[in-house]
């Protein structure tokens, strides 16, 4: 007989109790995994950002634009490889609940800086030829059932009116970290309409996207850009794409902290549940542990039995929880695609699940082990019969 056989049999001695504890761990690990995935999804834009891309925006606020004339000046700054620009459109498709990111951009230069966005060449050509053309992400197209050639009307919020676009391309991401729910169209289309209407945003961009030659010079290039436009009517604030994305996330930091807190509370609760199971188990078997000690087994042997059982129960629950996380996350991703364009269970999350399970198993075993290892044999034997 191997001692593992005994641990395994002990774990299933009270089948209902073990089943309920395993179920509790499964649900806890599932909930923990999903919450950690929500946090990852929150940071997906940050994670997907490139170290060689900078974003320059109006130093006062993103609400204020930058003159189009900055484009050439930025291009001449040392270390800059390419420059493009875009403007947040903020259009609504039929109803506000159908939110998705939509913006105008200079297509040739902008898309050249995003090799992770893949558009079939014939669709790209058609998009560039059509002033009213738009490109939508694969998931967005699936969500609304659009197809190439469809006319999509967005109701402008920043730029009033109904704006018609023709779907000329559907992009997909190079990998699953790329947001496939965005909608973009030609900046010229927006600009011409603004010019006609005599709006102040005409010949202005919401932000400049700057490609640099080397990620190590990002700070220097940012400083040079901002210095160039110092004391102008529209001073710039240039930062890496990552910092730019993080600036949005910092607005919702309290929510992220709350989610993180809840995820750890879940682990704490399941720790109490497993600890209770192990305490009940150890209390019931105190006589048996006394027999083991009588036969010459020592405290660490008893500890091995209790910790082993705690690990088996917790890890079974953890494995089921992890297995369930993937299909449930898929359902979440589908249902919440408007809020979380990228909702992938990361490898890091699985490691956290496993680490949390080990911590739960270990902590749950501490008190019962201490109690069983320290009980006097004569007292333990008295509990039998």
């Amino acid at each position: 007989m191997h001692i593992f056989k005994l641990i395994f049999r002990n774990a299933f001695r009270h089948k209902l109790r073990t089943f309920l504890t395993v179920l509790g761990v499964t649900i806890a690990i599932l909930a923990f995994g999903l919450l950690r995935t929500v946090i990852s999804a929150w940071y997906a834009g940050v994670e997907a950002s490139s170290a060689t891309r900078l974003v320059a925006r109006n130093a006062v606020s993103l609400v204020f634009p930058l003159p189009l004339s900055y484009k050439d000046k930025i291009r001449q700054i040392e270390g800059v490889k390419g420059v493009s620009y875009g403007t947040w459109f903020g259009g609504i498709y039929i109803d506000e609940k159908n939110f998705f990111a939509n913006y105008a951009m200079e297509p040739k230069t902008y898309l050249a800086m995003y090799p992770e966005i893949i558009i079939p060449s014939e669709q790209m050509t058609a998009f560039l030829r059509d002033r009213k053309g738009a490109v939508a992400g694969r998931k967005l197209v699936e969500r609304f059932g659009w197809k190439i050639g469809d006319i999509v009307t967005l109701k402008g919020t920043i730029f009033p009116g109904n704006w018609d676009f023709v779907i000329r391309g559907i992009y997909r991401g190079r990998d699953n970290t790329v947001d496939e729910t965005a909608f973009f169209f030609q900046w010229d289309y927006l600009n011409e309409a603004l010019k006609k209407a005599g709006r102040s945003w005409a010949d202005h961009a919401g932000w400049y996207l700057i490609e640099i030659k080397d990620p190590h010079i990002a700070a220097d290039v940012s400083l040079r850009i901002d210095k160039t436009f110092k004391n102008s009517l529209a001073e710039t604030l240039t930062e890496t794409e990552k910092a730019f994305q993080l600036s949005f996330i910092s607005m919702t930091e309290a929510i992220i902290i709350a989610i993180k807190l809840v995820s750890f509370v879940i682990i704490f609760i399941i720790m109490a549940v497993v600890a209770n199971t192990m305490a009940m188990t150890a209390r019931e078997r105190i006589g048996e542990y006394a027999i083991f000690k009588t036969l010459g087994f020592r405290g660490f042997h008893i500890g091995g039995l209790i910790f082993g059982e705690s690990i088996i129960i917790t890890m079974i629950g953890a494995v089921f929880g992890i297995m369930l996380t993937f299909p449930v996350a898929k359902i979440f991703a589908h249902e919440l695609s408007a809020f979380f364009p990228i909702f992938n269970v990361e490898t890091k999350t699985i490691y956290m699940d496993l680490a949390a399970s080990f911590v739960v198993a270990f902590v749950a075993g501490i008190f019962p082990t201490w109690r069983a290892a320290n009980i006097r044999i004569a007292d333990g034997l008295r509990r039998i019969g």
């Binding site: 006589g287 010459g296 004569a378 039998i384 019969g385």
Partner: protein
């Protein structure tokens, strides 16, 4: 028996328990010799200290004062770890309620003490089969305790007690939970262990029939070994 040197030598042994602020003496100045191959019965009313004395001899409890030597080893000076190792190879235990591990088969229960011995799996199998043969239970080795009668469970417990070939066997009311026929079988088996295998058995019992099987009966009363009340068979 007189020519055999004592395997257990107890001198001036005292033990008391604390209950709140009170100290209750359980054993008072006990001195006793037990010879090798002897079958000793300890009798006395409840609370007289029989089981406490047995536990002290078996090294599962600590004395307040006095000396216990088993095979020349002063066990009162051993640490907890040393005592555990000593028990594993020197003492076999037989309890009133058998105290088998319910999730293990008869074979596995008997094998349990050998897991600490460093023997190979093959060697352990040989020892376990021999022990089960002694108690005539080889045909039940794959049964779990719940599938065995009380008498059979106690025989498994005896096999577990002898499998390490210990110096002494301690038995606490071994027939207390058995019917008359099963009790008789167990006592016969214990007698055989003494006569055929020269085992030393120290048995606590209330049962005069069980005590009759012993070579010698010592009587305890209120923690004192009654020097005048000893039965030799």
């Amino acid at each position: 028996m007189d020519n055999v040197s004592p395997i257990v030598e107890i001198r001036n042994l005292s033990k008391s328990y604390r209950r709140g602020s009170q100290t209750l003496p359980v054993l008072i100045d006990i001195s006793l010799d037990i010879d090798k191959g002897e079958f000793l019965a300890l009798m006395g009313p409840s609370g007289s200290g029989k089981t406490t004395l047995l536990n002290l001899i078996a090294g599962i409890d600590k004395a307040d004062s006095g000396s216990i030597k088993v095979s020349g080893i002063e066990i009162t000076s051993l640490s907890e770890t040393e005592l555990a190792l000593w028990r594993a190879s020197n003492v076999g235990f037989i309890f009133q309620f058998y105290n088998l591990i319910p999730v293990l088969t008869a074979y596995e229960n008997v094998e349990l003490p050998l897991l600490l011995s460093g023997l190979t799996k093959k060697e352990r199998r040989s020892h376990v089969e021999t022990a089960l043969r002694v108690v005539n239970l080889t045909d039940r080795m794959d049964h779990r305790p719940g599938q065995l009668s009380g008498g059979q469970q106690q025989r498994v417990a005896i096999a577990r007690a002898v499998v390490t070939d210990p110096t002494i066997l301690v038995a606490d009311e071994p027939t207390g939970d058995l019917d008359r026929k099963s009790a008789e079988e167990i006592l016969d088996l214990m007698e055989r262990l003494v006569h055929e295998m020269e085992k030393t058995i120290i048995m606590v019992t209330h049962d005069p029939r069980a005590a009759k099987k012993a070579h010698k009966v010592k009587h305890l009363d209120k923690g004192i070994l009654n020097a005048y009340l000893q039965t030799d068979f």
